[in-house]
């Protein structure tokens, strides 16, 4: 490593002698990997600093091995103006310990009516356009936004959940919701929106990324779209990969999420789609919420769970269960998201930034939420046993954790 970038990589065999004056780090047989790139994190800054700031989110990220995160525009004010993008970029440069890249709003005020200034926002530093946790329901607005985005090579990231079909639903529709007396969210809320989007992408040929998909039928839609050569990628939430609706148990609001935790068959389909390579990326969907928004009856609580700090530990469950290999997992957590966003990280090769993690995939621990770096504590993995831990995190050659 030299000047914050990787200078050379030697695979197998003996490494050449370190140049004079170089520091060396003994990795003691652990796994050295490119730092994780998280395409979806909600941060409270600006506007909700009591839940999370760019600094606390970045510290949680560093502890979880995430060296680059994309922050969502659901702030107050929303990140829908070049001046706000500029604020976030500067604020992150001054306070955050990992790379923070803002995603700008797709529509002004995330109201779903008028597209934002894609060109000017990209010049200010926006890496993608999304209305965060909201879907654009007006197909004409979506069509024009996709059309305009294509001219600028902009990446559109869309939350696929039709709010009318969600209605008052608060968890996956089915037997369990009926037993709990909670209104359900049908899978079609996701598939109808996703199918619509695929047709609009076919029409416009814009670069499109489905932020998070959660059910088996969605993978069918995406398989067809990719086979047809559409410029489409997709993500899944770590929560939908490692938890299912049964985890809601006794109305645990930390497991109230959007998209909702689904049936075990959907979770299995999600893992299969990840293993097959159909799913491009895994996101933390990090969403800090405090007691005021979570210590409420299930139906009234806000959506969202912490994710940055536990992303890798939770994902390693799939490796330990032998459902996916470690390289495949790291590809979905690091290499692919960097490629989709056009960021230089996510790989171990000369010239890439020295954003690295040292990982012990086997170290077991029980999560104590009081130790979390986030300003909020709504982790769905509180008191859960996790296997695998990030020992060291490095951003541009500087150690930021461990």
């Amino acid at each position: 490593m030299r000047d914050g970038a990787i200078a050379g990589v030697v695979w197998g065999g003996a490494a050449p002698a370190a140049p004079e004056g170089a520091a060396s780090v003994d990795c003691m047989g652990h796994v050295l990997a490119p730092g994780l790139v998280d395409m979806r994190a909600f941060v409270g800054e600006p506007g909700a600093e009591h839940r999370e700031t760019l600094r606390t989110a970045s510290e949680a990220a560093a502890a979880g091995g995430v060296t680059s995160l994309v922050c969502m525009p659901d702030t107050n004010p929303a990140i829908d103006d070049p001046a706000v993008v500029d604020f976030v970029v500067r604020r992150a440069r001054d306070t955050a310990v990992v790379n923070v890249h803002p995603a700008a709003a797709l529509t002004k005020g995330m109201a779903g009516r008028e597209m934002t200034e894609f060109g000017l926002l990209m010049e200010a530093g926006a890496v993608a356009f999304t209305d965060g946790a909201r879907s654009v329901t007006n197909a004409q607005v979506m069509r024009r936004a996709l059309t305009y985005a294509r001219d600028f090579g902009a990446l559109i990231v869309h939350h696929v959940e039709d709010p009318d079909l969600v209605g008052d639903g608060v968890m996956n529709e089915g037997e369990l919701a009926s037993r709990l007396g909670l209104l359900g969210i049908p899978r079609e809320a996701e598939t109808v929106m996703l199918e619509r989007d695929m047709r609009l992408v076919r029409l416009t040929r814009a670069r499109y990324h489905a932020a998070m998909v959660s059910c088996a039928d969605s993978f069918e839609i995406l398989t067809r779209a990719k086979a047809a050569g559409l410029p489409v990628t997709c993500g899944v939430s770590i929560n939908n990969l490692t938890l299912n609706e049964n985890d809601i148990g006794d109305y645990r609001t930390f497991l109230k999420l959007s998209p909702p935790l689904r049936h075990e068959t959907d979770r299995q389909a999600t893992i299969d789609a990840l293993a097959s390579g159909l799913v491009d990326v895994i996101v933390s969907d990090h969403n800090p919420q405090d007691v005021e928004t979570k210590r409420l009856p299930f139906a009234e609580a806000a959506n969202g769970a912490l994710g940055l700090e536990t992303l890798l530990s939770a994902a390693l469950r799939l490796v330990h269960a032998e459902r996916i290999t470690l390289p495949r997992l790291l590809r979905a957590l690091s290499t692919r998201p960097a490629e989709i966003l056009g960021l230089p990280g996510g790989r171990l090769s000369p010239g890439a930034p020295a954003d690295l993690i040292l990982l012990d995939p086997d170290e077991a621990y029980v999560l104590d939420k009081r130790t979390l770096r986030s300003r909020s504590k709504n982790s769905p993995f509180d008191e859960a046993r996790l296997d695998g831990r990030v020992l060291k995190t490095m951003v541009a050659g500087r150690i930021v954790h461990g």
């Binding site: 009516r113 200034e117 060109g119």
Partner: protein, 313 residues
């Protein structure tokens, strides 16, 4: 003097005109320019004839230009605008046509907000009809005046590269110009964000660009189009600021075109939206000349149609 005869009873669009027709109109217009520059501007070609300007859409300059053209040829000109007509009271387009027809006009100049409305009206009257703009379809006299302006300045149209920039989707000026300039041998380009391009435009014989830098490279003529206010706030483009940044003609972008490139705009301009004031008023601008050529071209069109106007009983 023997001229090739103009074989059409109406001028409904550039579509349907042969290059010979176009050249004949431009030649006539060259003569009309001379007439308009004399102290005595009046000819007798249309003496005793009645011209009705029927404008369903407000227009200051086109209506004034047609009015002057008719008057310089000696016609009696009547202006009917929608605000003062019975159309407001619910009369249909066909009824209006029948009513006006009964007044025995010799030529009706029509502007309408709906594409095809002028063609419909032309089928219901006995006199000549000139399309002064129908929806986003055609505006033939604008294309002719643009061609006249170019021909007088560059000496030719064939072989020139013309970049038409801006709201192509909603523009009748763009459609008429694409047809006319291509027919006369120019290389026509359109430059706009894809949201302002009609589907399948590349099959209309033009080259399509979505960036000014590439679209203007090597252009002889840069023709800017007006962007309506209601289209610049997030529906078709995000904002005025962003539109001007990437598609507004300023000195930086004009520098991509040939050094001797000329700038045109059909008016009315949105300064600071599609064109900067420095360019609009600069040495390369032909915008005021276009207005002068407008009267001449409309005189030429009326003269060419005069021989087909109804004879007395």
């Amino acid at each position: 003097m023997q001229r090739p005869s103009f074989p059409h009873r109406h001028l409904l669009g550039i579509e349907g005109l042969s290059p010979l027709d176009m050249t004949a109109l431009l030649d006539l217009a060259d003569e009309a320019v001379e007439v308009s520059r004399q102290a005595e501007k009046k000819k007798a070609t249309l003496r005793g004839r009645t011209q009705i300007n029927l404008f369903f859409e407000p227009s200051t300059r086109t209506q004034a230009s047609f009015e002057l053209a008719g008057k310089r040829l000696g016609a009696d000109v009547m202006n009917m605008s929608v605000a003062s007509s019975s159309v407001k009271k619910g009369e249909t387009l066909i009824d209006t046509a029948a009513t006006l027809n009964a007044m025995r006009p010799d030529v009706i100049i029509v502007r309408h907000h709906a594409a095809g409305a002028v063609h419909l009206l032309a089928r219901k009257v006995d006199c000549a009809v000139v399309n002064a703009g129908d929806g986003a379809h055609e505006h033939p006299t604008q294309a002719l005046l643009d061609a006249l302006t170019i021909r007088r300045r560059k000496g030719r149209i064939a072989g020139l590269t013309v970049a038409i920039c801006g709201d192509i989707l909603h523009s009748r000026v763009a459609r008429s110009n694409m047809i006319l300039l291509s027919a006369m041998g120019a290389r026509v380009r359109v430059v706009a964000p894809t949201t302002l391009l009609p589907a399948g435009i590349e099959r209309l014989g033009v080259e399509v660009f979505t960036r000014m830098k590439e679209g203007l490279a090597g252009a002889d003529i840069v023709m800017m189009l007006r962007l309506q206010r209601e289209r610049m706030n997030g529906s078709f483009v995000p904002s005025v600021k962003e539109y001007f940044r990437y598609f507004g003609l300023d000195e930086d972008k004009l520098a991509f075109a040939k050094p001797e490139a000329l700038v045109m705009h059909p008016g009315p301009m949105n300064r600071g939206v599609e064109i900067s004031s420095a360019i609009a008023d600069g040495a390369q601008s032909l915008i005021r000349e276009q207005v002068e050529m407008g009267v001449a071209v409309r005189m030429a069109v009326l003269e060419a149609l005069a021989r087909h106007m109804p004879a007395g009983e």
